[in-house]
């Protein structure tokens, strides 16, 4: 009897541990919201909420004048122009990226020749994996000079460049999600339309595309979420002039994210400036929460099929009046749709061209500077090497996975193996996981700086950076682990339980091993995310070129090295070379994922065949 009691406590303890892992995302979101709000309060108090939101001047360097009593906080801290800039840039990117993305999706789903499809999808994937700091670098070296030529004043930095860069960032998201929902449209729709004599183009653009609209709309909203929160890519090209009125597409301005990223380093501890930057983070957070809410509503509307307020937006007026004469003339139509098909060819080609240009341009210029010394040698004076970046990247990857894997896998186990399906708890946790994954990385950076660096007193350190990265990769790990747990057939669990194995033993010996493919994929994705991240790391683990001496010292990953070089402005060749290394890593990870995917698919297919 005693042995049994011990066993039940073990089972209970395991269950609780998993539940805590699952609830971690909820704590994390609350902590982020709380600390950012908490640190914003001084700004709201000293500046005034209204003055802060609607004030037009952003002149943080005049904080001294306030202290000398020559002016007031309210007159120097206003974010109206900054918010407007963000809105305009985001809207522009949503339109441009949305158009390109949706047409690209149509091309991939319906027109891409079978042989090219795999290559094409991989290319789009690759683009979505390119770190934002590299897109920013591409923007400043390639796009800005082009925009300069278009600009009446000869000014390339500004909102137009920002829109272009953002469009590059969000197009792959929109394209691949829209493609998924296009491919989910039942085959019968196409057959039905063709059976009525419609051309394929007509069927695609007037039947299939509308059928997928709710999924496409979701992808657009996700794209917008990314655009609002995108930091480094934009900060390279927007000009870094926070507070300037966004009255021209061709003049340096500043957005919410770039203002934080640009000024966080210079704002002194305890200043109103720092608090005001945190308040900007809070505004960003509100935007993201709002976007998440819309997304949830859209999904619900999509599920309920034509009910809810959202669907009403799309519902067209029913037949105006019937054509009473009874005389109809049936004409051959479809010219418009055929034209649209060519548009989709064009945009698809544009996407491929952009990604190839980006890669080739960087690699061609960067390769000559890569040497063993550059990769592994020690930095001496102005002769900078990236060995410290490689080491730091490995350190961050290792520590982040060490923490986030058990947390994420434990959480996924709770959600899939213990929680009642669709219980309140599960719904809440899902919502918070989604929210967490939508938080912009600069906000994570801000939170990491406040919480890990200051409150936990870790200072700028590789450890603080790793902790911050845990929050960023956690949603990915939970989701993909859960996906693969779902695929483990119930019969396998029953088989083990029927032999008398306990639940915990069943999970660890039979269920989890079958979920390994998903876990490995999530690891690779997380590594990609960590390697590409810069905004969240600059103010948590620091931007330095020195070799870290341990987890408590500062250190910069390769992506942050790019940022460092950019700030110094002296190391063009090193930037190309570092970017080349980063691209090589991203490329390798993408190939790895594709290979894993294929390997695992083969295995499961084989299994299914045997069963039938």
């Amino acid at each position: 009897m005693k042995a049994k009691a011990k066993k039940t406590t073990l089972e209970g303890a395991a269950k609780w541990t998993f539940a805590v892992c699952a609830a971690f995302s909820v704590f994390a979101v609350f902590a982020i919201v709380f600390f950012i709000l908490y640190r914003s309060i001084p700004a709201f108090q000293k500046i005034g909420v209204f003055e802060f939101l609607f004030g037009e001047t952003w002149a943080p360097h005049w904080e001294d004048k306030v202290l000398e009593g020559k002016t007031e906080y309210a007159s120097i801290f206003g974010v109206s122009n900054i918010v407007q800039t963000s809105l305009i840039v985001t809207a522009g990117a949503a339109v441009l990226g949305g158009l390109i993305g949706v047409f690209t999706a149509v091309f991939t789903a319906y027109y891409c020749p079978k042989k090219l499809k795999g290559f094409f999808e991989q290319t789009v994937n690759l683009l979505s994996g390119i770190p934002s700091i590299i897109v920013g670098f591409f923007g400043v070296t390639v796009l800005v000079p082009i925009v300069e030529k278009l600009s009446p004043q000869g000014e390339g930095m500004g909102m137009l460049s920002a829109v272009l860069v953002l469009a590059i960032m969000i197009t792959p998201t929109i394209a691949s999600l829209s493609k998924n929902s296009l491919e989910a449209v039942p085959k019968e729709y196409l057959e039905g339309a063709l059976g009525l004599g419609a051309t394929k183009d007509q069927a695609v653009f007037s039947v299939l595309l509308p059928a997928a609209k709710s999924g496409i709309f979701s992808s657009l909203i996700l794209g917008i979420g990314r655009a609002v929160g995108e930091t480094m890519a934009v900060s390279f090209v927007i000009g870094g002039a926070s507070g300037k009125a966004p009255d021209s597409f061709f003049k340096p301005v500043g957005s919410l994210t770039t203002t934080i990223a640009g000024e966080l380093g210079e704002a002194s501890f305890g200043s109103v400036h720092l608090s005001a930057l945190t308040a900007i983070g809070f505004i960003l957070l509100l935007f993201v929460l709002a976007i998440n809410l819309v997304l949830t509503l859209v999904k619900r509307g999509g599920n309920r099929e034509k009910t809810g307020w959202f669907a009403k937006l799309f519902r067209r007026k029913k037949l105006k009046e019937t054509n009473a004469s009874g005389k109809h003339s049936y004409r051959r139509g479809g010219a418009v749709q055929t034209a649209l098909r060519f548009v989709s060819y064009f945009f698809a080609a544009l996407v491929v061209f952009t990604i190839l240009y980006l890669i080739v341009d960087i690699v061609v210029k960067g390769l000559p500077y890569i040497s063993a010394h550059f990769l592994f040698g020690a930095t001496k004076g102005a002769n900078v090497t990236i060995s410290a970046g490689l080491v730091t990247t490995l350190m961050v990857v290792g520590m982040t996975l060490l923490i986030s894997l058990p947390l994420g896998i434990g959480g996924a186990i709770y959600l899939n193996e213990y929680a009642k399906k669709d219980s309140k708890f599960v719904k809440v946790v899902r919502l918070f996981i989604d929210t967490l994954s939508g938080v912009p990385s600069i906000v994570f950076g801000l939170f990491g700086m406040i919480f890990f660096c200051q409150i936990c007193a870790l200072g700028y350190s590789v450890l603080a950076g790793s902790f911050t990265m845990v929050l960023i990769v956690l949603p990915t790990i939970i989701r993909s682990t859960e996906e693969s747990l779902k695929e483990v057939p119930q019969s396998v669990r029953e088989g083990a339980l029927a032999l008398g194995a306990s639940k915990v033993r069943t999970i660890f010996t039979v269920v989890l091993p079958s979920a390994i493919p998903g876990i490995i994929t999530s690891i690779v994705l997380s590594v990609g995310r960590i390697v590409g991240e810069s905004a969240a790391l600059i103010y948590t683990s620091g931007a330095v070129v020195e070799m870290p001496t341990g987890y408590l010292s500062q250190g910069s990953t390769l992506s942050v090295f790019m940022y460092y070089f950019q700030c110094e402005g002296l190391h063009m060749n090193e930037m190309y070379a570092t970017a080349t290394v980063l691209i090589a890593i991203v490329l390798a990870l993408n190939i790895l994922i594709a290979l894993l995917d294929r390997a695992f698919k083969k295995k499961t297919n084989g299994k299914d065949k045997k069963k039938v």
Binding site: P489, L499, K610
Partner: protein
Amino acid sequence: MKEIEKFTFEQGVAIEVKGMDLYYGNFQALKKIEMTMPEKQVTAMIGPSGCGKSTLLKSLNRMNDLVEGCRVEGSIKIGGVEIYEKNTDLTMLRKNVGMVFQRPNPFAMSVYDNIAYGPRTFGIKKRAELDEIVETSLKNAAMWEELKDRLHKSALSLSGGQQQRLCIARALAVQPQILLMDEPTSALDPISTGKIEELCGELKKSVTIVMVTHNMQQAARISDKTAFFLLGEMVEMGDTERIFSMPKDKRTEDYITGRFG
């Protein structure tokens, strides 16, 4: 670790179900079931689809616990022990009352590890001991000759029939006293089916078998007792020969002569 006890059967009675009701939420799937299953014999359960055979079978080792909203009332005793008591030791129950499912469900491991899974669960770690268990179990399942050279191949690479017999061997490896089988041959070809039927004849020398089947000939061929179910009720139970030659209940007669169901 203390050894897991076994059930002790008295007067040849293995399982005794009395006045048992089972509900899935509000839906009553089993009504006032009364039946006794004798030790070391094969009891077959027949009846049309949806009448509750699987449900009853699963309640005998409490696999129904996995179903949300499932509730059992009345009494099920195994070896005189009430298995739905609060402090029932599920591990002990399921070790002694093994189960073979309708579709083979080998784990994604080698043949060897599949069979060793149960013993390992119960703390047997020594290689030699495991080797012996694996060999005996495979021999008992009449597939030692087929598999002895493929012990370390993945179990998923076996044929469907082999997988199912492997699952039987896996169940046998923990030396159950009772083996529950839910349509164990419905996913298999006639030859594999024949092998499993033969196996049941062998196994009942040492194990009590309760089997659900849709195949009337199968029930007639291998079982000692047959119980007929309809719409959640146990209509009639008796010696297999008697049930098939002179059923007492009109509904049983209609069913076995193929007039409905």
